[in-house]
Symmetry: C2
Subunit: 394 residues, 2 copies
């Protein structure tokens, strides 16, 4: 949030005891007035109780508060899980003196264990008490699981001379994959916009951001993106041109957060954009980009800073798309490492090795067959990823 805050929002994060290590694990977003809301949820058929509840409530198009816990995903918890999700919203609604129907909820953490709502109920008065306009950093910390850093992006826009703010916060950092929201992302804005236009803008922004990242090819049961717009800045979206102007600001916030999620992917040391072009269709390009971005052999080579373009080509070859290996060019940033499916030699290898040492770079694959293209952000796959995920529940 830095020195900019969205008008009329208060946020907070406290430790309720759900996380065994005593760190912050309960977060609140509250708007002084009911806000317009739009949401995107996981496509996994196994969906956590809070996702199921939000899907129902969001139909009203209105939301005044979001309550989020980390440490327990409240997923695979059956009928009791649903009751627990409702209870979380009830505790918040009671403390805030608003309707329960105006409260949405999200959870992240371990799957398959019952949620201790007693801890949440006990912590609620304190959570509401400490909520302030500048509380988003605390909120960002409260929703982290294996994330190393809190993720907050703020952008300002101007509509008909009236300034407004869009601030987003997200948490990763495993179970990230395209065609999913990230695990959790919350965006607040003081712009005024209709539910339909906000939904349209959110879907478009998600396609350009969270649907273009991958960490480990797994997908979460809890993925949720919520956008709340309370209109208190006075800036208003009334027509398509204004919606496009707002879209640019929203895109920047979501794209910024999506990149932060990949960069802070479990065990990740590098942020790599995979750009595929020259395919017969964009769909083909997306399939190839997705296969390369999720290949364990490619990702471990990136961790090893090894310009192993053969693994990239091999991944392209199994993407289920017709390619001609003898036409494929591969680049690390601007260094061509393979031309027409063959190695460019020692000098190129040396240049590529330098690129591979960077924290961020682009791998481009040109199929030289047509005009299709696609891109996706991925990270490398490290020893640390395995350690994190082998020990996660202990």
């Amino acid at each position: 949030m830095e020195n900019v805050t969205c008008k009329g929002f208060k946020t907070a994060g406290v430790a309720s005891g759900l996380k065994k290590n005593g760190e912050k694990d309960l977060g609140l977003i509250y708007s002084e007035v009911p806000a317009t809301v739009a949401g995107v949820f996981t496509k996994n058929l196994v969906q956590a109780a809070p996702v199921l509840l939000d899907r129902e409530r969001i139909k009203s198009g209105k939301c005044q508060a979001v309550i989020v816990n980390s440490g327990n995903a409240n997923c695979c918890t059956g009928g009791q899980g649903k009751l627990d999700a409702i209870a979380m919203t009830r505790f918040a609604a009671y403390g805030l003196a608003i309707s329960e129907e105006l409260v949405l909820v999200a959870s992240t953490g371990v799957i398959g264990q019952g949620l201790d709502t007693g801890k949440i109920e006990a912590a609620m008065p304190e959570l509401i008490k400490v909520a302030v306009p500048e509380g988003l950093d605390d909120f960002a910390k409260a929703i982290m699981t294996t994330d190393k850093v809190p993720k907050v992006v703020t952008q300002q826009g101007v509509m008909e001379g009236v300034p407004y703010t869009v601030t987003g916060v997200a948490k990763g950092s495993g179970m990230i994959r395209p065609d999913m929201a990230t695990m959790l992302c919350f965006v607040v804005s003081d712009i005024k916009i209709s539910h339909d236009l906000l939904t349209e803008a959110l879907l478009a922004a998600t396609d350009k951001s969270f649907n273009k990242i991958t960490v480990d090819g797994d997908t979460s049961t809890n993925d949720t993106i919520l956008v709340l717009a309370n209109g208190l800045s006075g800036a208003t979206v009334n027509n398509p041109a204004q919606k496009e102007s707002f879209q640019i600001v929203l895109d920047e916030v979501l794209t910024g957060l999506a990149k932060m999620v990949v960069k802070d992917g479990e065990g990740a040391t590098k942020l790599v954009e995979i750009v595929v072009k020259g395919t017969l269709s964009d769909k083909d390009a997306k399939k190839i980009a997705d296969t390369i971005a999720n290949s364990n052999l490619v990702k471990t080579a990136l961790f090893g800073e090894d310009a192993n373009w053969g693994r990239i080509l091999a991944a392209a070859g199994r993407a289920g798309v017709k390619i001609d290996p003898y036409k494929v060019d591969i680049f690390f940033d601007d260094v061509m490492i393979a031309k027409e499916g063959m190695w460019c030699g020692e000098k190129a290898e040396e240049e590529a090795a330098k690129i591979l040492k960077r924290d961020e770079f682009i791998i481009s694959i040109d199929l030289n067959m047509g005009q299709g293209s696609a891109s996706i952000f991925t990270c490398d796959f490290s020893v640390e990823y395995v350690k994190i995920n082998a020990d996660y529940r202990s």
Copy 2:
């Protein structure tokens, strides 16, 4: 091979210098008479030069020798790669005084670097000289890359009172995935069988073995299974009943090798069978089994000996198959850890924890929707896997 050998075959493995560490890297299989041959090759569109050559030559249905190198995959090597693959068969044919067309070839190792055929030519006389009926252990070592152990399985059968032998050798141990042959597998037998029946038997055996294993979800550019049958035992397959009898023996050899490949998967510490049942179709079951078996989050949890059934259910939920999470039962061996999508409690957790410590166990998922079923072998995903694949080319 133990104390049983296939009549009329000689095998050998020597060090030609392709492997930097000086280990064996060149192997030969030679039959005293031309053998009937059948083959299965990679479905990756990027195919190594030896695979392209073998696909052509195997159409004759006859083969008398197979020359194999490790240390270099001769893949993504363009027109020169094809010439190099032909050269390998020519060196062998010359030394053995047989037709070049009767020699097949396979390569495994790094992709995208030119093959030093000079080393192979220089080592050929020695390789041919040391070939003996008991040489298969040396051959098995010569085709290893990151494999920790050589993989040889021998079975004997009897046809109309005449005994015969089937011996297979395989190497893994990354880039393994269903619907692919393993990286390399060679089977020799002294049975007499037609090319058509041998091909039919090989396809059936592959479906039950190498098409049911996964290590890391990647697929090789070089995968090859070859079966040579030279008929020198006197046992003959003439009719469907006899083919079925031979099928059982061949299945045992390939299934045995496939399990050894998973067990020796890169960095693997556990061999786990994923059994999915109760789906609407076998195809649905296969999709779910494949998704679970390739989930990094499931596989790292197996490495951590963590009975994290939530990750198993979450993987099932993203398999692209309609499921009802509230009907799913999950077992580790005979311990039910989740019933109707919910945790079975502390006692089940304790029992499951004991199963997870085993080297081999079964994870069963019952969708309780229909009669479909499928199974697949996978391994855990360890810190060692990442280390192996980050450093592979250095």
